[in-house]
């Protein structure tokens, strides 16, 4: 785009003696602000909603540190607050994972739950739940994490050729391997005791039900480590939007960047899945939604994507526990049920010629 038309609609941010200069499109900035406000609103409603009736005012006072009763303290501080934060964090992580995966594989339909990462985590957790029901809850996140990493490594290894790993191969390998892994999972579910199968099934549906401060710390810690790497890579990532040839022409170290991106995508999804179970479609939808709302540079696009993901999962968790009370529906089912139709609408509104 020409400099003359672009200039008025951009905000230029200069940091560190102009070593970093950011030209931020105004519309994207406004979008980011509104999304942040929406997220805060959803999180507030989430904090005020629950089976344990607490008035909004009481929630606010509890959060300010005024003890109304130890029970209310407990509900707000130990149940609602970590749950609300975990939902937002998990959403942001899955969304970033999806955006990164889509960028690295140059395919707008890539999602952690379609390429075997979720299935690897699921198999590990189901195996643990069904075969060693007495094992410690402590092991579950680790099992999920290693399951996800193992499947991701297998996909990476299988899709690697002498010419390097093809992005298309990565996705197709993912689909093949996830079908394989899922068949073992369903064998375990079908031939185990019904109660154990049911216990595993609730985790498989993706539920934020039982998150505590440790989970929040895990999620936040990994986000703090991984998200800045993505932002640092954003320039290379935006070059890669135009295809490998262009990116190489622009001097981007393609193969390295690609591998780092895939690794981060897997790590983000694996950590999020290990805490709340497989949450499908967030990684698929959030980047598309971010793209539709505002065109932005890669860095800002990632932030918008993360915000979208956080809103989506927070909303799904809120709907899941409030809409059909007293019956609670896991967030993963809500994300799938609202996510896929939204996704189809988004796609229908795209003209095939418009690439980004």
């Amino acid at each position: 785009m020409s400099h003359a038309t672009a200039a008025p609609r951009h905000l230029v941010l200069r940091l560190f003696d102009e070593r970093i200069a950011l030209r931020i499109p105004l519309r994207a900035l406004i979008t980011a602000t509104s999304l942040t406000l929406i997220l805060l609103l959803v999180m507030s409603i989430s904090l005020a909603t629950g089976t344990y009736g607490i008035a909004l005012e009481e929630v606010w006072n509890t959060l300010r540190g005024i003890t109304i009763s130890s029970a209310i303290d407990n509900v707000v501080w130990e149940f609602r607050f970590p749950r609300t934060l975990a939902a937002a964090l998990v959403g942001a992580m899955m969304a970033l994972s999806g955006a990164t995966l889509q960028n690295a594989t140059r395919n707008g339909l890539a999602d952690p739950s379609l390429v075997g990462i979720s299935q690897g985590a699921a198999l590990a957790v189901v195996a643990l739940t069904v075969l060693f029901p007495a094992s410690l809850a402590l092991f579950r996140p680790w099992a999920a994490f290693f399951g996800a990493i193992a499947v991701a490594l297998a996909i990476q290894g299988l899709s690697h050729t002498r010419q390097g790993g093809g992005a298309i191969r990565f996705i197709l390998m993912g689909i093949g391997l996830s079908a394989f892994v899922a068949s073992i999972t369903s064998a375990l579910l079908t031939y185990s005791e019904i109660d154990r199968a049911m216990a595993a099934l609730s985790w498989l549906a993706g539920s934020i039900n039982a998150t505590n401060w440790n989970d929040v710390a895990t999620l936040a810690g990994w986000t703090v480590i991984l998200a800045p790497i993505l932002l640092a890579l954003s320039r290379t990532m935006s070059a890669m939007r135009f295809g490998e040839g262009t990116a190489t022409g622009l001097g981007a170290p393609i193969r390295l960047a690609n591998n780092i991106q895939l690794a981060i995508a897997v790590a983000l999804a694996a950590v999020a899945t290990s805490v709340v179970g497989p949450l499908g479609f967030v990684g698929l939808i959030a980047p598309h939604a971010a793209k539709r709302l505002a065109r932005a540079g890669m860095g800002l696009h990632l932030i918008l994507t993360a915000l979208w993901g956080a809103i989506l999962v927070s909303l799904a968790d809120l709907l899941g526990r409030a809409a059909f009370a007293p019956i609670q529906i896991p967030a993963g089912i809500i994300t799938a049920a609202i996510g896929v139709p939204v996704f189809v609408i988004l796609l229908v509104r795209t003209r095939p010629t418009q690439t980004h």
Binding site: G50, T51, Y52, G53, E57, E58, N61, I66, T67, I68, S69, S70, A71, I72, N74, V75, E78, F79, R80, P133, A134, L136, A137, R140, Y191, E193, D195, R196, M198, A199, L201, S202, W203, S207, N209, A210, T211, N212, R321, F324, P326, I327, Q328, P330
Partner: protein, 325 residues
């Protein structure tokens, strides 16, 4: 919020908290550690309906909340509640607190329980959260077996006296039934479970609630193939049903429209065409489908299972099974 309301609320909270503090406590050890629990718990939440809430309720414990199920119409119910004890959420003070694998911790907190009891099927992350509300015990019913599970539940809920009295009369009834039958070890029985969909047949060596307990207390034998199982249960190939032949074969119907005695019998025939013709037990009218409470985990279920088995084995003539040469 004004200072006055705050004081009022604090005062209210204090009065609500007093009973919990005033209670005497004692030390108990469960599968997940040792806990200080009230000597006489007044507000118990059960994390499973069939295995925990029903036995607690029938022993006279004060259950204020229980996990349950959701039926096809979206109505919550306690499995086995109506057919075993005639109770449900609608006709008791028991509140629904989620499904056993999707518990609602806030609903549990709102009930202000002084004791929470779950099992090995309970999500351990949820158990950790619940510890901040009240001591939460994990009872490993698989390892304990039915009688010890009931004894433990009675003990922690302060109802040991009720349990021991009922258990004694159950044992006396077992002896009475044995005296009616004579050499019980000469009689073989197989416990099977069939779902209405007729996809697979499950065979239980042990741990199908009251019925397997009663059969083993009576000293009945099992077919060799069943006795040889490593696991407590296995799904069985239709081709091998003749391995299940015995003096008596038991199946189960339930209080739900698709699991009536008639549909369950039809499911056996659909799963293995010629089921009845292939099994001498069935030919002789000794394939018996029992009502749901007999595979439940209650004292009532034990008493009912014993009566029904006694009635089928001692209350009428039957044709003994002769192993094919």
């Amino acid at each position: 919020m004004s200072l006055r309301t705050l004081f009022a609320l604090a005062g209210l909270a204090l009065t609500l908290a007093i009973p919990a503090f005033a209670q005497e406590t004692r030390n108990v050890t469960a599968a997940n550690g040792t806990f200080d629990i009230p000597v006489a718990p007044q507000r118990i939440v059960a994390l499973n309906d069939q295995i925990i809430a029903l036995p607690l309720y029938e022993l006279g414990a004060s259950v204020v909340g229980s996990a349950g199920r959701v039926d096809a119409e979206g109505k919550t119910f306690m499995r086995g509640g109506m057919d075993t004890l005639g109770i449900d959420y609608a006709n008791t003070d028991i509140q629904y607190v989620g499904q056993f694998n999707a518990l609602n911790v806030e609903a549990i907190a709102a009930l202000q329980p002084d004791l929470i009891i779950g099992g090995t099927y309970t999500d351990l992350a949820v158990v950790d959260q619940l510890q901040s509300i009240a001591p939460t015990l994990v009872i490993d019913n698989g390892a304990l077996g039915l009688i010890e599970t009931l004894r433990t539940l009675a003990d922690v809920s302060g109802q040991s006296g009720n349990f021991e009295a009922r258990y004694q009369s159950y044992q006396a009834n077992i002896e009475r039934t044995k005296s009616f039958i004579g050499d019980t070890a000469a009689i073989s029985a197989t416990t099977t479970f069939m779902f209405p969909e007729a996809d697979d047949l499950w065979v239980y060596r042990a741990n199908l609630g009251a019925i397997t307990q009663v059969l083993s207390d009576l000293g009945f034998a099992q077919p060799a193939a069943v006795a040889a199982l490593n696991a407590t249960q296995a799904s069985w190939s239709a081709e091998l049903i003749q391995q299940l032949d015995a003096d008596f074969i038991f199946g189960f119907y339930r209080q739900q429209p698709d699991a009536t005695p008639e549909t369950i019998r039809a499911a056996y025939e659909k799963f293995a065409p010629g089921w009845c013709a292939a099994l001498t037990a069935c030919q002789n009218g000794q394939f018996v489908v029992l009502p749901g409470p007999t595979f439940g985990s209650t004292m009532t279920g034990l008493e009912l299972a014993l009566e029904l088995v006694e009635n089928n084995v001692a209350g009428r003539p039957f044709t003994p099974f002769v192993e094919a040469p």
